[in-house]
């Protein structure tokens, strides 16, 4: 009964004072013997809720078991069966599988994510992860627009099915959000490059700096390809319409993070184009992962103070009655970035930004309560007399995304949108335009990387069936 006898252990995080001084990853490597020990806690459940909780349907109990028996080779095969890029999810996924783990009903879950990353890293070390070009080509050509996780997953699946795949990316580098949205301290970008070189070797063609509808006519895309997959992401940020919003020093999170990532990648960015938190009072609006990414970045840039605000009340320490296992637990979580300092405040709503000479210097905030509105949509009520000022030299808006940006490709192809602004599509993942499919955040709305990969796989399966009449791709 390993699950009783062994306690959950995670790899150590590097000391805060050390890690905030560089852009290296937070977590130290985990010794493999400890890892296999942890994997033994897996109970190989009759109903593996983890496997259900994972959007990819990773065969978690199976690779846990293989790892405990030192069968890393089989483990990576089983992992790759459902997940094209375990090194990405192993670093970046918030691990809904662990919330769904049966052990977490009354104990701590298995360290599934750590097992996952260990398997893939072990496999890379052993040289087992090699390019697997398809045995035969179908002669069909597929264009994938967007090179984030959804696009890359779709590309790899379709390439494996024997189609010739070209990935179009409007940015200068391939990788989408993984490339520029994720701070390096969460994932070293070498991991991305390592994977991309394999994709290249498998025969996928990458075309960065290709803006469909811009420098590449959408017409050409249609003409040269038998199918198109739109994996455009959902980067249109949610707006915060309050007074003072147009003051300088108020930025969306994503461009802010991108700038730092570019610098880390060696790009020369002049200081006046750069946004730095150095020596500033930084206020981050939004309590999610992006907010935490900003937090870690601001600390590393040398912020004077960082305050992270969110209008929601602080989540409970344990699950609420209507948030039972195996749902994603809405509980108070502390990410490594939070460990590094800064204030967190909850139930705070932004009234206005105050500035001096067009530059933000503070924000006016107010305490709010969520009205118990029964079945109706909840309303925020300001608590009288709680209005206060928070110093802010730099404000980062990490309050979520409203949907795909307005892309010329969408317009030119004539793809219909949903009310939410996402790409509309049928059960076969095809948009209103025959032969044009969608995948990832572009159709789902902003979500987790693991969903993006899953969506890419599902769309690929549908594309393959569309092209060939049948498919043996697993999807997800």
């Amino acid at each position: 009964m390993a699950f009783v006898q062994i306690e959950r252990r995670l790899p150590k995080r590097r000391p805060v004072e050390e890690r905030v001084r560089d852009w290296g990853e937070v977590y130290s490597p985990f010794p493999e013997d400890k890892l296999t020990h942890q994997a033994r806690r897996c109970m190989d459940c009759g109903i593996p809720f983890c496997h259900q909780g994972c959007p990819l349907g990773n065969l978690i109990p199976e690779w846990n078991d293989l790892v405990t028996r030192d069968k890393w080779r089989e483990a990576i095969d089983r992992l790759h069966l459902t997940n094209n890029f375990p090194e990405f999810t192993g670093k970046l996924c918030p691990a809904p599988c662990e919330d769904a783990c049966v052990l977490s009903i009354n104990s701590d879950p298995v360290t599934i994510k750590q097992v996952e990353i260990s398997i893939i890293e072990h496999a890379f070390r052993e040289g087992w992860v090699t390019a697997r070009p398809p045995a035969m080509r179908t002669g069909k050509r597929v264009a994938v627009v967007g090179s984030g996780p959804a696009g890359l997953a779709a590309a790899q699946e379709l390439n494996r099915a024997g189609h010739l795949v070209t990935v179009f990316e409007r940015d200068d580098r391939i990788g989408g959000l993984i490339r520029y949205g994720i701070p390096d301290f969460k994932m070293d970008k070498q991991l991305l490059d390592r994977r991309l070189s394999l994709l290249l070797e498998e025969g996928i063609v990458f075309r960065p700096n290709a803006d469909i509808g811009g420098n590449v006519p959408a017409e050409e895309l249609r003409r040269d390809h038998d199918a198109v997959v739109l994996a455009l992401g959902a980067l249109r940020p949610r707006e915060l319409p309050v007074p003072g919003r147009d003051l300088a020093g108020i930025h969306y999170a994503m461009p802010y993070l991108t700038l730092q990532n570019r610098r880390n990648a060696g790009d020369h960015i002049p200081d006046d184009e750069f946004v730095s938190a150095a020596g500033k009072h930084v206020v981050i609006l939004g309590g999610g992962d992006t907010g935490a990414d900003c937090l870690g970045t601001a600390h590393r840039q040398g912020a004077k103070s960082v305050t992270q605000l969110q209008w929601r009340p602080a989540p409970p320490e344990t699950r609420g009655q209507n948030n039972p296992w195996p749902e994603w637990g809405y509980v108070f979580r502390t990410s490594p970035a939070h460990e590094e300092g800064g204030e967190r405040a909850f139930s705070i709503s932004t009234r206005e930004f105050l500035g001096e000479q067009g530059q933000v210097r503070a924000m006016r905030a107010v305490q709010v309560e969520v009205e118990d509105a029964g079945d109706r949509r909840a309303r925020l009520l300001e608590v009288p007399g709680t209005e206060h000022e928070i110093p802010a030299d730099l404000v980062l808006l990490a309050i979520g995304f409203a949907g795909p940006e307005s892309h010329s490709v969408v317009r030119e192809l004539g793809v219909e949108l949903t009310e939410r602004g996402t790409l509309a599509m049928n059960d076969e993942k095809m948009t209103s335009v025959p032969g044009v499919f969608a995948a990832g955040d572009a159709e789902r709305g902003a979500s987790l990387i693991v969903w993006a990969i899953a969506d890419g796989r599902i769309t690929a399966r549908n594309v393959d069936r569309y092209l060939m009449g049948s498919t043996d791709l697993r999807g997800s």
């Binding site: 009964m1 699950f3 009783v4 109970m43 190989d44 459940c45 009759g46 109903i47 593996p48 809720f49 496997h51 259900q52 909780g53 349907g57 065969l59 109990p61 199976e62 069968k71 089989e74 095969d77 069966l81 769904a100 049966v102 052990l103 009903i105 009354n106 104990s107 697997r132 398809p134 045995a135 035969m136 179908t138 494996r160 099915a161 024997g162 009655q321 209507n322 039972p324 296992w325 195996p326 749902e327 060939m468 043996d472 791709l473 697993r474």
Partner: protein, 1534 residues
């Protein structure tokens, strides 16, 4: 008043009577009827013909009346009959009066026959008869209408009553010897029967020959034992004289008029059942083409078909016995062939006999019982018991040279001083009386004589060859790892199967077990391609015959078989045994290669390819079968004797024919062409891997199987390091061992002990296969709801093939993960899956009906689309629903709910008690399961909660089944079978028997426990009736329920159970079962409850037996809709097990058997139990929600009360299942059929069963004992007793326990002394304070469940026989006794003290299997024991006085050691022997005590090893290790 009963319809409306023997209708099929009975004969050894013999036999029959049954009408019996010698004087007189003279005895024959009632029919039959007789040179001297008096018989019997006629035929002058005359008569009868079958003459449907013989005549009919004398006035005529008289009383599961099914048949009467019938019949038919006999010449074809397939098992056995005798074998010889004693593992048997049996096994497979067969040819009369000895058979030999043989003692009053010997028939033994020689012929004499008729040993030596002796093959195929993966995919192997099935089989040598039943769709509803094997479900024995214990009673089992052609059955030659002997039917590659390369006269093998060309698509399969037949026919013509069906040729262009299809199809083809017995056949198969697969292959005709792909897979796993420490040979050997063991277990579930009998026996039901497919390839198999045809089967093969050989290879090929046992996304459907478990738990924990509706919607929708049979049904709502307020409230529904039978041990105390509390709060019923119950729970808690389980289960191990336990119940549930593993017992390792689990089971902590597969007091339906009566006595206030598992034929069993006076019948679905079970059982045995329930309802209603029983159902019920469907199909009460467990927190871990339940439910581990978070309230919420849903559905259906809804299957429609590619062919209409019965026949329970407790002797005893019961005063009385007094002392005991609790009264407060022969179950569950003394003898089950009382028995004072050599009591005494004492001055039958857990007993000799499964108590045997003593004995101590020094050989030392007893033992044994003497006055005890110094060294101590270890541990104070050892879960017995 005598009449010729032509006025039979006068007083009865047609509506009152049952229809004549029905044809298959709805789910009912007459093939599945069973019967079982009481049998007796009286023989005058010296051949003196007297009327007294006839009169006594009839009297004996009347005293067996309780072994028969009545149907819905009390005066309609199931059948009774008499066989006697032709009473010449009587017939002479009668015929003279009719105007014709009879010649001398022997020169004429009498035909007793049934004719139509109408004059035209009678004339036609007579005319036919005379014509046929004349054509054989015989003349009919005259006809006699046999007078009958039907005044006393019931309307249904009357409705089917035929005319009774006798024809007298003169022996032709050309025939001089009796045997030749009998042969001619046999030919005559066969010709007439064939004419009747061909409907050649008017009245053919009534025409039936009871007997046609110069020596014997049979009187029989659909009567009860006490009616036959009055019905046939002939039998009372003093001039009706006979030296022998065989009588029989039938207990049939059905009540349809069946006059011709009464026994005796022409040569035998039978008590029991032939389990292997289907196979025996097939093989007989297969052999027919080879029949040739000099005695019959060309006429032999008129004897065919030998077997009337519509007749009963007994009639069939009679047919074959008659054939063997008529074609020249002696009667004992023929009997020995048909019912051989176990000879393979029998060291004690002499070589000649063994050779006889060995040789004959090449000619014919055993007809496996349980059977007590009595047989006679008019001169010889005898009886034989099958190898298991499961039917009671007792006899007296009197000093005036008579033998009285019967199913019971006490059927006739014989003065004790008249008795020379009291005996019982032993397993495999024959009792034979030769009235011509005037003596009893000893078993060994008759068998030696038969065995030496031919030099069988030499014949064997010269012709039979062992597989191992064949020369090595030049080439043995080796694993081909390069192509392995593709081939595995082509045969559908999954990772899961490798990991969960194949690997454990080779690692442990046995098949793995699992828990929590199965919730995947049946094969036909599965969206995934299924192996053909999965469309078949194994049948198993329940009630009408017992499952066997293949492990503990190994001496009767065998998987050995032989391969090669059979000769002419009727003309045995030395070459008839020219066969290759196989020790195991699973061949490794080397063995198969030897077989393939062996060339010798009479042996030639030929390999046929079992593949088809994928380019032909699905049609390719059918044509491949046809060409397979052609190839086989040609091979046989060319002299091939062994066919090997091989699918090794699978490649990119060739897909395998499913092995099962190839094997069964070819088998039936060859049976049809009459060449099946010319060859043996082997299947070289890539798809066989599970136990179930092998069972099917053997069951459908394959003699041996070579699972080459399974072997290659093992090799692969060894290479991959998956099978630590195993080399290839060991892995293969262990795997084969696991298969053999598993197959043996499956066949023993059906009560079959040898693979040879199982071979071709087709003991399966097809579920979801098109009937025409089944008729064509699996002829004779039931497939009641239709299903997929061969095109879909082919498509499934092709789908797998495409995966293996994809046109466009994509990913690196890998096996499918598999998802049969553990849920996987995108894998096989599971009703309990992440979503449903989550919703159900959330809804019930937070009492949110809205979320509960989400849960039920998920379950109902998913079961509609692809999971269950009920999902294919639509409710037909009323045009005008009733307002929901008018529907009865939830509170009125709760009493219909039961929680499942889960023992304390299988689940934790917390979970067990919470369930009980919840059910008691609601007014439903919880169930103890098989594990006893803590008396502390019998009283309510301070807060008003009650932890007592209303239903107390009585299962085969009888753990903790005491008088107190039984008294504290509202319902006593006899578990005949368990959904997860019907027909099996369980095993609980020692480390799990701790704490309360051990205490409540009366077990020693730390010592393993075993549950036997059968209830040792139920080997037949009349035994069940007896147990029901016992339990009713043990607690007259409780309902008695019988739990059955759905399978084809469960309806007839249910009807039988209703006739056996159960109050409740529970039909369990196969999916249910929370307990651990071998995966084969869990997945492949039994049926969904919908089918079982529908069949039960139909058959019970048809039999007018529904009105007196409550019908319950369970097995994965999950929603209100499920309950409504169950109600409409006929169930009144509903059981839930898995769902409440989920409600309490179970997350379907399916590791209950490992004790590692992470939510503290199925575990005894204190740490894990802390994690339990369930509450009774959750369970209450669940049932409240279910009831609420039921109400909603009722409103829509227009029912205000549930009673109105029961059995209304007309309110169900079959959904057209067009949206499912495989379900399209299903036809559920038979399920919804309502029996065509007149108004007024009830379709639900409306009245009580009549238990006849008012007639019990105990009413007198209770009156007599009143001073003791009320005031604790001493009571003594002396009474006579007879065999019809059954279960004496039990009701008295229940009174005592009810008043005084489990501790009873001081020993000996009530003392009753009886004189005579006691009936069954004397002193059952006798509590402390009562002493029963019996001077005389007793039948089976003396002291069963003894609960502290005392029993003493000894022969009558004026008996002259030595008690220690005579049989005093029957089988299974002290079964499940928990405490008390018993002293028997005489010998007992089989299975003495089986599962005794605490009683002390002394006896002077035992039958086979003494002290089996014993777990506690002390037994002293002062004489010879039978074989297999102490099998499965895990506790307690036995001492055997081994005067002859032969005990060691008869003891099963699997679990015990034989020791020399020490000084402490000496004291204890001596005290017991003294007490024995004091209680019974035993002369042997006296002699032993007088010569104690000489006697003591002859005592052997039988000591269970585990038990000794625990006792030693306790003594050496290291006992601490045990008391702190975690009390661990037990599920195997749940």
């Amino acid at each position: 008043m005598k009449s010729l009963s032509s006025d039979r319809h006068n007083h009865y409306l047609a509506n009152d009577i049952l229809p004549a023997a029905p044809h298959p209708t709805g789910l009912y099929d007459p093939r599945f009827e069973h019967d079982s009975c009481g049998v007796a004969f009286i023989a005058d050894i010296k051949g003196r013909r007297t009327h007294e013999t006839v009169a006594d036999a009839l009297r004996a029959l009347e005293n067996l009346v309780h072994r028969g049954a009545h149907g819905s009408e009390v005066n309609t019996g199931d059948g009774a009959g008499v066989l006697l010698q032709v009473p010449h004087e009587f017939f002479h007189r009668e015929c003279a009066a009719l105007g014709f003279a009879l010649p001398a005895p022997g020169e004429y024959a009498v035909c007793m026959c049934f004719l139509p009632m109408d004059a035209v029919g009678i004339d036609a039959c007579r005319q036919m008869f005379e014509q046929q007789a004349n054509s054989l040179g015989m003349s009919v001297l005259g006809w006699r209408a046999v007078p009958t008096d039907n005044a006393a018989i019931g309307p249904s019997a009357k409705a089917g009553e035929p005319g009774m006629h006798q024809a007298f035929l003169r022996r032709p002058d050309t025939i001089t010897e009796v045997a030749a005359f009998e042969r001619t008569l046999y030919l005559l009868r066969r010709r007439m029967e064939n004419a009747a079958r061909d409907r050649d003459f008017p009245g053919h449907e009534c025409f039936y020959v009871c007997s046609l013989s110069p020596r014997t005549v049979v009187y029989k009919g659909m009567l009860s034992a006490d009616q036959i004398g009055a019905y046939f006035p002939d039998l009372s005529d003093p001039e009706v004289r006979s030296a022998l008289c065989l009588v029989h009383q039938r207990f049939s599961t059905n009540t349809f008029p069946a006059w011709r099914l009464a026994h005796p048949y022409r040569m035998l009467a039978h008590n029991g059942e032939i389990n292997t019938l289907r196979g025996n019949v097939n093989w007989m038919r297969a052999r027919e083409r080879q029949f040739a006999s000099e005695l019959f010449g060309d006429d032999i074809k008129d004897l065919l078909p030998v077997v009337d397939e519509s007749a009963s098992d007994s009639a069939t056995l009679d047919n074959v016995l008659e054939l063997l005798v008529m074609t020249g074998r002696s009667l004992p010889h023929a009997i020995m062939m048909l019912i051989p004693e176990p000879w393979t593992g029998n060291d004690g048997m002499n070589e000649l006999q063994r050779d006889f049996y060995d040789y004959h096994s090449s000619l014919m497979e055993p007809w496996d019982g349980p059977a007590a067969v009595t047989f006679t040819d008019g001169t010889l009369i005898g009886a034989v018991l099958d190898r298991n000895g499961l039917r009671p058979s007792r006899y007296y030999v009197t000093k005036d040279d008579r033998v009285i043989f019967a199913s019971e003692v006490g059927v006739l009053d014989i003065a004790p001083e008249q008795i020379a010997h009291k005996g019982r028939l032993e397993p495999g033994r024959m009792l034979l009386i030769d009235t011509a020689q005037g003596r009893i012929v000893d078993d060994s004499e008759v068998k030696s004589q038969v065995a030496t008729e031919q030099p069988y040993g030499r014949w064997l030596a010269e012709n039979r060859v062992g597989l191992a002796d064949l020369p090595s093959a030049p080439h043995v195929p080796t694993p081909d790892h390069g192509t392995l993966l593709r081939r595995q995919q082509a045969f559908g192997l999954t990772h899961e199967e490798k990991r969960l099935l194949v690997a454990p089989m080779s690692q442990n040598g046995e098949e793995p077990i699992g828990s929590m039943g199965t919730d995947t769709p049946i094969a036909v509803l599965s969206a995934r391609p299924q192996l053909l094997y999965n469309y078949f479900t194994q049948l198993f024995a329940q009630v009408t015959n017992p499952p066997l214990d293949a492990i503990r009673e190994e001496l009767v089992t065998s998987v050995a078989t032989a391969i090669g052609p059979e000769g002419n059955l009727l003309d045995p030659q030395p070459e008839s045994c020219r066969q290759i002997e196989l020790k195991s039917p699973v061949l490794d590659n080397d063995e198969l290669a030897r077989l393939k390369h062996f060339e010798a006269p009479g042996f030639r093998t030929c390999t046929l390819p079992a593949v088809f060309d994928v380019r032909e698509g699905p049609d390719g399969l059918t044509s491949a079968m046809e060409s397979l037949y052609e190839l086989a026919d040609r091979a046989i013509e060319d002299g091939c004797t062994i066919l090997i069906l091989s699918d090794r040729d699978v490649d990119a262009l060739h897909a395998p024919i499913p092995s099962l299809l190839a094997a069964a199809g070819l088998h039936h083809h060859l049976v049809r062409t009459g060449t099946r017995t010319d060859i043996g056949f082997v299947v070289e198969s890539g798809d066989a891997r599970e136990i179930h697969h092998y069972c099917l292959l053997f069951g459908y005709g394959a003699t041996a199987v070579n699972p080459y792909l399974a072997f290659e897979t093992l090799d692969e796993m060894i290479q991959d390091g998956e099978l630590a420490d195993l080399d290839h040979d060991t892995a293969v050997r262990q795997y084969i061992k696991a298969v053999n063991k598993g197959v043996l277990k499956v066949i023993s579930k059906m009560g079959i002990s040898t693979l040879q009998s199982y071979h071709g026996a087709q003991i399966f039901e097809a579920v979801g296969l098109d009937r025409s497919l089944v008729d064509r390839y699996f002829t004779g198999t039931a497939s009641r709801i239709g299903g997929v045809g061969i095109d879909v089967i082919a498509e499934e093969v092709l789908t797998r093939h495409r995966t293996a050989y994809p046109v466009r290879p994509i990913a690196a090929p890998d096996l499918d993960p598999g998802s049969e046992y553990q849920w996987r996304r995108g894998g096989e459907y599971h009703l309990f899956n992440p979503e449903t478990v989550f919703k159900l738990q959330h809804a019930t924990a937070t009492k949110q009906y809205k979320i509960f509706k989400d849960y039920t919607r998920l379950v109902d929708d998913q079961s509609r689309t692809l999971a269950t049979i009920r999902g294919l049904l639509d409710l037909q709502y009323a045009d005008e629903p009733v307002p929901i307020e008018e529907v009865e409230p939830v509170e009125a529904i709760f009493h219909r709910f039961m929680s499942g039978a889960m023992s304390l041990g299988s689940i934790s105390t917390e979970a067990h008690e919470d369930l009980a509390i919840a059910m008691n709060r609601l007014g439903g019923k919880s169930n103890t399961g098989e594990g006893g119950e803590d008396p502390a729970r019998f009283l309510r808690d301070a807060n008003g909660d009650w932890r007592r389980s209303a239903v107390k289960q009585v299962a085969s191990a009888r753990f903790g089944v005491t008088s107190e336990y039984l008294v504290n119940a509202d319902e006593l549930q006899i578990k005949m079978a368990q959904g997860a593993k019907p027909g099996e017992g369980g095993q609980l390792p020692g480390h799990k028997v701790a704490g309360p689990v051990a205490r409540l089971r009366y077990a020693t902590p730390g010592v393993g426990l075993i549950s036997p597969p059968p209830h040792h007091d139920i080997y037949s339906i009349e035994d069940l009736a007896q147990l029901i009566y016992d339990l009713k006595n043990a607690n007259p206030r409780a309902r008695v329920a019988v739990k059955l598992v759905a399978e084809v034929g469960v309806g007839t069993v249910a009807a039988g159970v209703s006739k056996a006076h159960a109050d409740v019948v529970l039909i369990s679905g196969h999916e249910g079962g929370t307990g651990a079970a071998p995966l084969t059982s869990l997945k492949h045995t039994g049926l969904p409850w919908e089918l079982g329930l529908a069949e039960a309802q139909q058959v019970v209603v048809m039999n007018r037996l529904r009105d007196r029983i409550v019908v319950q159902t369970d097995g994965q019920l999950k929603t209100g809709r499920d309950v409504v469907i169950a109600a409409l199909l006929g169930a009144e009460e509903y059981g839930f097990a898995t769902a409440p467990l989920v409600v309490m927190g179970c997350i379907m871990m399916r590791v209950c058997h490992l004790n590692t339940c992470p939510v503290g439910i199925a575990t005894q581990d204190p740490e894990l139990r802390k994690r339990y978070a369930g509450k009774p309230e959750f369970v209450e919420n669940f049932f409240r929600f279910i009831a609420e849903e039921i109400r909603e559905q009722m409103a829509l259906l227009g029912f205000c009360t549930m009673d109105e809804m029961i059995g209304r299957s007309d309110r169900l429609n079959v959904r057209p299942a067009v949206d499912h590619w495989k379900a399209r062919g299903l036809d559920l209409s038979t399920m919804l059929e309502q029996p065509d019965v007149p108004d007024g026949v009830h379709i639900r329970r409306v009245r009580e069963q009549y238990h006849a407790l008012d007639k019990s002797l105990d009413n007198t005893l209770i009156e007599l004992a009143r001073p003791a019961l009320e005031r604790g005063e001493l009571v003594r009385a002396h009474l006579p007793i007879r065999n019809v007094h059954r279960t004496v002392g039990t009701m008295l005991g229940s009174e005592l326990t009810r008043r005084h609790g489990g501790d009873g009264l001081p020993d000996g407060t009530i003392q009753f002394k009886f004189d005579g022969s006691a009936g069954q179950s004397f002193g059952a569950w006798l509590p402390r304070g009562i002493t029963l003394t019996l001077e005389g003898d007793a039948n089976d089950y003396v002291g069963k469940g003894l609960s502290g009382g005392r029993i003493a028995m000894y022969p009558p004072a004026d008996a002259t026989f030595p008690p220690e050599e005579n049989v005093l009591l029957g089988n299974v005494a002290l079964y499940g006794a928990t405490s008390g004492e018993a002293y028997f001055n005489g010998v007992c039958g089989e299975r003495f003290a089986v599962r005794n857990s605490g009683a002390t007993a002394v006896v002077e000799g035992t039958g086979d299997h003494g002290c089996e499964y014993m777990t506690g108590g002390r037994v002293v045997v002062l004489g010879r024991t039978g074989r297999n003593f102490a099998a499965g004995m895990s506790g307690g101590i036995a001492y055997v006085f081994d005067q002859a020094g032969t005990f060691e050989r008869r003891c099963n030392r699997g679990m015990v050691d034989l020791e020399t007893p020490d000084g402490q033992d000496q004291e204890a044994v001596r005290a017991l022997v003294e007490r024995h003497y004091e209680q019974t006055n035993s002369p042997r005890a006296l002699r032993i005590l007088e010569g104690w110094e000489q006697a003591w060294p002859l005592f052997v101590k039988v000591m269970p090893r585990e038990y000794r270890k625990v006792l030693q541990d306790q003594r050496t104070e290291s006992a601490a290790a045990i008391s702190v050892a975690p009390a661990v879960a037990e599920v195997s017995l749940g």
